[in-house]
């Protein structure tokens, strides 16, 4: 399929010729390559390619969306007819609503790289991953390890009747490692990954041996550690974990569709304090370490959206439809997993701005608590309507007399959206934002790449599971 602005504009013109006043055309091609070594054996050398075209038509507030992977005129014509017919079939039962007329971006973005990661010889990739996997398995105490090298190029073109004309191409590459260690009868696993938006030059420059060794050694130590006593702790959260906390504790609740439908505890709270005044949270399209997306899948610009400013809720993340219904402006947060889906409101790079404290100062006031680490954390989940979130943490440390004292195995923590961030009493200055080419954020059956991050923070109360 031709993925060009001209082609998409032609399709849009054809849609409009059929009497439609409001429409959007989105074309996408995504290629993903992965090499996986599992316990010393090459398990996957794989390449996945998806390509397609999505057509969105809005009639009296009803959305008809159709997609096709064929670029011949008959297939595209059929997809246009399906989108229009779908919208018409709902029109008598749809509720009237207005989509925002703002949010029409124009421009091109392409991640810069020196060495195209999709052009590297597969033998070179295999050698790298094999050697790293073997290095891990040679460590005493390790029983199993999985090492993966992933590279992705995701290219989209979006044009719309309200003036959007954008092209975005993101290239990213990363390596992940899962180590499983055994100590007596106890088995423990730790995994971590490192992703760069850019080219293979990052893979060549990074010290992957040190990375794999650290993850593996941590798995061994964690297998010898106990689980923390369950309870409520005062905690220092490191800058590899804080992003996951924010994503779950705040990010989903600030998505405009949750707010609109009354399934967010942040509904109706703009202008009120919902966190400590030390906390400022933004969602941004381009930030170092994050997943670069200067335009969303409606072609709206994604700049910096201030969601929380010194503890005060400033606004929500919006698509054109949620913005239109709530009298706001689109914030460039309408995204879809691929062309087989219409967009939802999603986070982009959701992170906390750094404060003034040195990291050491966060421990000075913590005579007895826990130091929650992100390395080895596997994800989180939230129910934004109930205000309850949870996420896993990697092997962490019980803190005694202001010092990380005892390693404990990774467990989950949970908290209340409206309470946890009010308890932030110190914010360090060491900002870190990360993303992953191996996963992302899941919502309503769609997965999208995201970035998240922040500095080290200290929170008054967080519930830690354990046995």
């Amino acid at each position: 399929m031709e993925l060009s602005m001209d082609f998409c504009k032609e399709v849009l013109e054809e849609v409009m010729r059929r009497g439609v006043k409001e429409a959007l055309v989105r074309a996408q091609e995504r290629v993903y390559e992965v090499v996986v070594f599992d316990k010393g054996v090459l398990r996957t050398v794989g390449r996945t390619r998806l390509v397609g075209l999505g057509i969105k038509v809005v009639l009296n507030g009803a959305v008809g969306y159709a997609y096709t992977s064929s670029s011949d005129p008959e297939s595209i014509g059929r997809a246009i007819d399906m989108a229009i017919a779908a919208a018409r079939s709902l029109a008598t039962r749809a509720r009237p609503r207005a989509f925002s007329l703002e949010g029409a971006g124009s421009g091109k973005y392409r991640t810069r790289y020196l060495v195209d990661p999709l052009s590297i010889n597969v033998e070179d990739k295999i050698e790298l991953v094999r050697d790293l996997n073997k290095l891990s398995l040679d460590l005493v105490g390790l029983v199993s390890a999985v090492t993966r090298l992933g590279a992705e190029r995701d290219r989209k073109v979006v044009v719309s009747s309200f003036g959007a004309e954008v092209e975005v191409e993101v290239t990213a590459v990363g390596l992940s490692h899962l180590a499983v260690a055994k100590s007596g009868d106890v088995m423990e696993r730790v995994s971590d990954q490192k992703t760069f938006a850019g080219g293979y030059e990052f893979v060549r420059a990074y010290d992957w041996e040190a990375f794999v060794r650290e993850v593996s050694e941590l798995a061994v130590k964690a297998s010898q550690a106990r689980a923390p006593p369950p309870g409520v702790y005062r905690a220092v959260v490191d800058n590899e974990l804080v992003g996951l906390l924010l994503h779950e504790a705040f990010g989903h609740a600030s998505e405009g569709d949750h707010v609109l439908h009354g399934t967010s505890v942040l509904s109706g709270k703009v202008g009120t304090p919902v966190a400590s005044e030390l906390v400022t949270i933004v969602d941004e399209g381009l930030v170092e370490g994050g997943y670069p997306l200067p335009f969303d899948d409606e072609g709206a610009p994604k700049g910096r959206t201030v969601v929380l400013d010194r503890g005060i809720l400033k606004g929500y993340l919006h698509s054109r439809s949620t913005a239109g219904e709530m009298g706001s402006s689109p914030t460039g947060n309408a995204r879809a997993q691929d062309v087989t889906f219409d967009t939802l409101v999603r986070q982009t790079n959701f992170y906390m701005l750094p404060g003034d404290a040195r990291v050491e100062e966060l421990f000075e006031g913590l005579s007895d608590g826990i130091y929650l680490r992100g390395r080895g954390a596997s994800g989180g989940e939230v129910d934004p309507s109930l205000g309850t979130f949870t996420f896993s943490v990697g092997p962490s440390y019980l803190v005694r007399r202001g010092e990380p004292a005892e390693l404990v195995r990774g467990v989950i923590v949970s908290g209340s959206i409206l309470e946890t961030l009010k308890g932030v009493d110190m914010v360090a200055r060491d900002l870190k934002v990360t993303t992953s080419v191996f996963g992302g954020c899941g919502k309503e059956g769609q997965l999208v790449r995201v970035g998240d991050g922040g500095p080290h923070i200290r929170v008054q109360r967080i519930v830690v599971g354990g046995i």
Partner: protein, 447 residues
């Protein structure tokens, strides 16, 4: 493009180009999704897509490629690309062969003509009716969102050893989010039904259950930390089985020393009250098909027989390593290689009525749903979940709804010596058909 013929032509092309073995797995999916909110319908998404996944070997060098297919030539480009990579790849010393026997098990109730037709109006009507129901059931409740997804799926597998196998099936998913509020606060609950056909779909029952739990959990609060009895209702029980037990019985994870059940075949792993079956051809369950995802006929097998572990779940690769037959459990996810996984999990019911189990709770939690159970650690068996919908029960009486506490424990302790009873009622939860399970103790961490 006819799927079986397309798959077979792809295999032949790979062999012509020098592959020693080749397999094509092709799927055509045509789907409709409809979404509505309380005041009306909002969106229809529809379309059709063909995808193909090729496994191509040169000796023991394997490469995997998948692609969306628009024209037949895309399949040929796919196998050409896979062959190039296979030639440059490294040998897998454990590789034996692709499945030498493809076939189909008899199945029933996997195709519904109403779904296959993909009639938008029919499903729009379901969503329209659903969003008006919660308020009619209880004035404190309203529908937040309801959705229907309906697909017709045609899939085929061909490989170098046998003629292709193919089948058509359908898929239906209805879901509704209900919010309830009164002077005590708010709560939201999510109900759904997922099956190949509409045969057992009772929209009113799904909405009624979601409304009942949403209303019943208004004003939910924490309970003090400590040990509690727990009654795992089917949805929560299914999530624990899925995140902790199923990975532990996957033969690939056992062989690669990532399962705590390695070396535990024929030992008492769970309570004698638990018999757990994996059945790839169960009627009207979403994990069913005539063949697994590498074309091997599916079948029913007892995984835990009265708590004794009797088999792991195998695909052809892991079965060949042990010189045994595949159990028909090959699955594919994303761009990864074929691996074993559960098809449908059926836990045989017990003899205790659910009502009597609740009455036996002296001090405990009746748990409907939680978040984060999938974050539990299957390697260690450590269960962790944050409760979102539960009731605190004392001496058989419900005292108040509960949310926001973390429960944990070792799943093998909880489901072996800790299992008290299993209900005689079962519930369909996606590809799980499970009863409720009463356990003697879980640890609660709380504010």
């Amino acid at each position: 493009m006819e799927m079986a013929a397309l798959a077979e032509r792809g295999v032949r092309r790979a062999e012509e180009l020098g592959a020693s073995e080749a397999e094509l797995y092709v799927v055509r999916e045509r789907l409709v999704r409809i979404e509505g909110v309380a005041c009306g319908l909002e969106r229809v998404e529809c379309g059709e897509e063909v995808t193909a996944v090729a496994r191509v070997l040169v000796g023991r060098r394997l490469a995997l490629q998948s692609s969306v297919i628009a024209v037949e030539e895309d399949v040929y480009r796919l196998v050409e690309g896979a062959l190039r990579v296979a030639r440059a790849s490294e040998e897998d010393p454990h590789w034996h062969s692709l499945p030498k026997t493809l076939g189909k098990s008899p199945t029933v109730d996997l195709v519904d003509p109403r779904i296959a037709e993909g009639e938008v109006d029919h499903f729009a009507e379901i969503v329209s009716r659903a969003v008006s129901l919660p308020t009619a059931i209880d004035r404190r409740a309203r529908a937040v969102r309801a959705r229907v997804a309906a697909s017709r799926i045609e899939r085929a597998v061909a490989n170098s050893y046998q003629s292709p196998v193919s089948e058509v099936s359908t898929y239906f998913n209805f879901s509704i989010t209900v919010k309830a509020s009164d002077e005590r606060g708010e709560s939201t609950y999510y109900g759904y039904h997922e099956a190949p056909t509409l045969r057992e779909f009772n929209m009113e029952a799904v909405v009624e259950e979601a409304t009942r739990v949403a209303v019943g959990t208004i004003g939910a609060k924490a309970v003090p930390a400590g040990g509690y009895q727990a009654l795992f209702m089917p949805r929560f029980f299914a999530s624990l089985l899925s995140s902790l037990l199923v990975p532990a019985v996957r033969a690939d994870l056992v062989q690669r020393e990532r399962s705590p059940l390695r070396g535990r075949l024929y030992s008492q792993v769970l309570s004698g009250q638990l018999t757990i079956i994996d059945d790839g051809c169960a009627p009207n369950m979403v994990g069913s098909g005539a063949f697994d995802e590498e074309g091997v006929p599916t079948r029913r097998k007892v995984v835990f027989d009265g708590g004794v572990l009797t088999t792991y779940l195998y695909d052809t690769y892991t079965a060949n390593i042990e010189g045994r037959a595949s159990t028909g459990n090959a699955r594919r996810s994303g761009g990864s290689n074929v691996h074993p996984d559960a098809t449908n999990i059926i836990v045989l019911p017990g003899t205790s009525p659910l009502e009597s189990l609740v009455r036996e709770v002296r001090r405990g939690l009746v748990i409907y749903d939680a978040i984060g159970s999938w974050l539990s650690n299957y390697v260690s068996g450590l269960m962790n979940a944050t409760i979102t919908h539960a009731y605190y029960v004392e001496n058989g009486e419900v005292r108040h709804p509960v949310k926001g506490v973390v429960i944990s424990g070792n799943v093998y302790t909880i489901l072996r010596e800790g299992l008290v009873a299993v209900s005689r009622e079962v519930e369909l939860v996606s590809n799980y058909l499970v009863p409720a399970a009463m356990v003697s103790e879980v640890t609660v961490a709380s504010e």
